[in-house]
Symmetry: C2
């Protein structure tokens, strides 16, 4: 029974995901056809359907992946960037988000993923879970603010986490929808307002 190397299968799958991700980021999930994905990936219909049961599976995979990537940068902050001030923490987070600024990239996918999740309960639960994990970790970050005296001892860590997440999400929207908004300029406003 012949079988191709697992590494090859993984590479093919990644090839498909990346190509579809570029298409989806540019035009949204429903404005890109499967034929667009075939063309972008350089593969045929048969090949793609060997790795994914259908378009919905591809969408779910990529939408969750995009939000997951943002979550990863929050986790990285927690691993290495503790005891920063609120402003410096946000500087770090927004700077990481800067990596998602390209037009084929994660930032735009995330916006599409939000919309898609509104009409797809299963996907919504996946994305909501990722967001809750982010909130958990951002609450830990907020706890660090309290510990370092940046926030009052009775501050609501989880509520502060919502605020931090908003500032990340809002940056993505304003950069991609409203137009060019550099991390530097955005941080100026944050520092002014956070004092």
């Amino acid at each position: 029974m012949p079988k191709v190397a697992q590494a090859h299968l993984d590479a093919r799958r990644r090839q498909i995901v990346e190509a579809a991700g570029r298409c989806f980021a540019r035009n949204g999930f429903h404005r890109t056809s499967m034929q667009d994905v075939f063309a972008e990936s350089g593969l045929s219909a048969g090949a793609v359907y060997r790795y994914f049961a259908g378009k919905d599976e591809l969408i779910a995979d990529i939408a969750a992946g995009a939000v997951g990537q943002v979550r990863a940068s929050v986790r990285a902050l927690l691993d290495s960037g503790r005891d920063l001030s609120p402003a410096d923490t946000l500087a770090r987070l927004i700077d990481d988000l800067g990596a998602f600024r390209d037009p084929d990239g994660t930032g735009r996918l995330m916006i599409h993923a939000w919309g898609e999740s509104l009409g797809d309960p299963a996907l919504r639960e996946v994305i909501a879970a990722l967001n809750r994990e982010m909130l958990d970790e951002l609450a830990e970050v907020a706890d660090g603010f309290v510990g370092a005296g940046h926030l009052p001892a009775d501050a609501d860590r989880r509520a502060v986490a919502h605020t931090l997440l908003s500032l990340m999400q809002g940056y993505v929207v304003q950069f991609h929808v409203t137009g060019d908004l550099t991390p530097e300029r955005y941080l100026v406003g944050l520092r002014d307002l956070l004092g």
Copy 2:
């Protein structure tokens, strides 16, 4: 030549826009078919196409309308709620946003509109323009903060406006995607972080 009253025409158009808005808010622009719109509005294909050239026009109208509604609440703030503290200003804005929380409503439409604008340059320009107008007005609000001594005199008003807009946009995303987030709870975090 019989002609129906203009008021009747306007009412019909509004009927279509509202029905389509409910569909779009629930399932997104491309997951709702025109037939869904016909059913929701209680009208036939012929009737709808008498008022709109096609689905794209309907989408553009409704997407711009959703963002425009948020803009209107910012303008209302400027007209009546000057010289509030940053925290109270946000309380007012988020409270207004609370009106967009229902599942058929503006909040969800706005998220879909962002996604749609990414792949549609014309719509993107319309939405970007609305956002810029909001930023202009929020910059005036920020100027009020400086005047009242809440912010340093050299604060960058426009940059602060971006932050305020983020806090509004992030609330919408977190309420509709992550799950129930009351304005009250959200404001706790804002007050903690803004000091």
